[in-house]
C-alpha cells in the first residue's frame, strides 16, 4: 500500500469529486508504484485553513513512495499527481501542492 494524505478545505470538493479523485489517485499509485493507495482524506474545517495568512483554497496530496526515486522521475510523478488534483478539484496549479517522499 502507498500511504497518501489528501488535505482539502471544507466545502471545496464535492462527494462525487472526492470519489473521482480517490479513484484516480489509486490508479496513479498502481501505475507508478505497482501498489494500491491507502488514502487518508483530511478536511480542514471552514475558517481553519490559511495560506499566506489568508483563507486557504489549497489542496495537498502527499504520499510516500515504496522505492527511492531519482529527481527526474520524482518531478514527473509530482506533475502527474498535481494534474490529477487540478482536474478533479478544479483548482489551479497554484492551489495544488504535491509531495512524493522516499520510503519511510
Amino acid at each position: 500500500m502507498i500511504p497518501v494524505m489528501c488535505i482539502v478545505q471544507e466545502g471545496q470538493v464535492s462527494k462525487a469529486a472526492e470519489r473521482a479523485l480517490k479513484s484516480e489517485i489509486g490508479s496513479f499509485t498502481r501505475r507508478a508504484f505497482d501498489a494500491p493507495a491507502d488514502i487518508d482524506w483530511i478536511v480542514v474545517p471552514t475558517g481553519s485553513g490559511f495560506t499566506a495568512a489568508r483563507p486557504s483554497t489549497t489542496v495537498i496530496a502527499s504520499l510516500h513512495a515504496n522505492r527511492d526515486l531519482a529527481d527526474k522521475e520524482r518531478a514527473s510523478l509530482l506533475r502527474q499527481l498535481a494534474e490529477i488534483c487540478m482536474r478533479k478539484t478544479g483548482r489551479s496549479a497554484h492551489e495544488v501542492v504535491t509531495s512524493i517522499r522516499n520510503p519511510r
Binding site: G49, A53, A75, A93, H94, T98, N102
Partner: protein, 132 residues
C-alpha cells in the same frame, strides 16, 4: 511548503484566534527563513486522529523545506509556541511543536518543483503573475 498543521483539544483555540495565529506563523516563518508568504500554509484541526496530542492541549507539526539551521528551527518553535500562548491562552507547558525536514525537490507547488531555500527569487519571478 512549509505546512503547519495544528491539532488541539476541542475548544482550546478560539475561532477568533486562528487567523491571528496563522498570521503570526506566516510572519515568523518568513522573518526567520526569508521564504515567500505565499509558500506558508497553516491549518488548524480539533482532535484529529492523524496528529496525536499525547495528553497535551496543542500539537503543532511543521513540515519545512530542508536546509534550515538548528537555530532557525529552534527560533520557529519558540516563537510559534509564544504566539499560541499569547493568542489562545494555552500554557506553554501544554504546547508541543515538532518539525520535520522535507527536501525541496520532493515538493511541487504552482506546477514546478519548489526551489531550495535561498533560491526563491527566480522561482517567484516565473510564477509572479499567477501568485498575485
Amino acid at each position: 511548503m512549509p505546512l503547519y498543521m495544528c491539532n488541539a483539544v476541542s475548544g482550546t483555540i478560539p475561532e477568533t484566534a486562528k487567523p491571528k495565529i496563522a498570521a503570526d506563523i506566516t510572519d515568523i516563518h518568513c522573518e526567520i527563513t526569508g521564504a515567500p508568504r505565499s509558500f506558508v500554509h497553516a491549518f488548524f484541526f480539533e482532535d484529529a486522529p492523524q496528529l496525536p496530542i499525547n495528553g497535551k492541549s496543542v500539537f503543532l507539526f511543521a513540515s519545512l523545506r530542508g536546509g534550515r539551521t538548528v537555530e532557525q528551527k529552534q527560533a520557529l518553535v519558540d516563537r510559534i509556541k509564544a504566539s499560541l500562548h499569547q493568542r489562545a491562552g494555552v500554557p506553554l507547558s501544554e504546547i508541543v511543536v515538532d518539525t520535520t525536514d522535507v527536501p525541496a525537490s520532493w515538493v511541487m507547488e504552482g506546477g514546478d518543483v519548489l526551489p531550495e531555500p535561498g533560491e526563491e527569487d527566480r522561482w517567484l519571478e516565473a510564477h509572479q503573475g499567477a501568485m498575485s
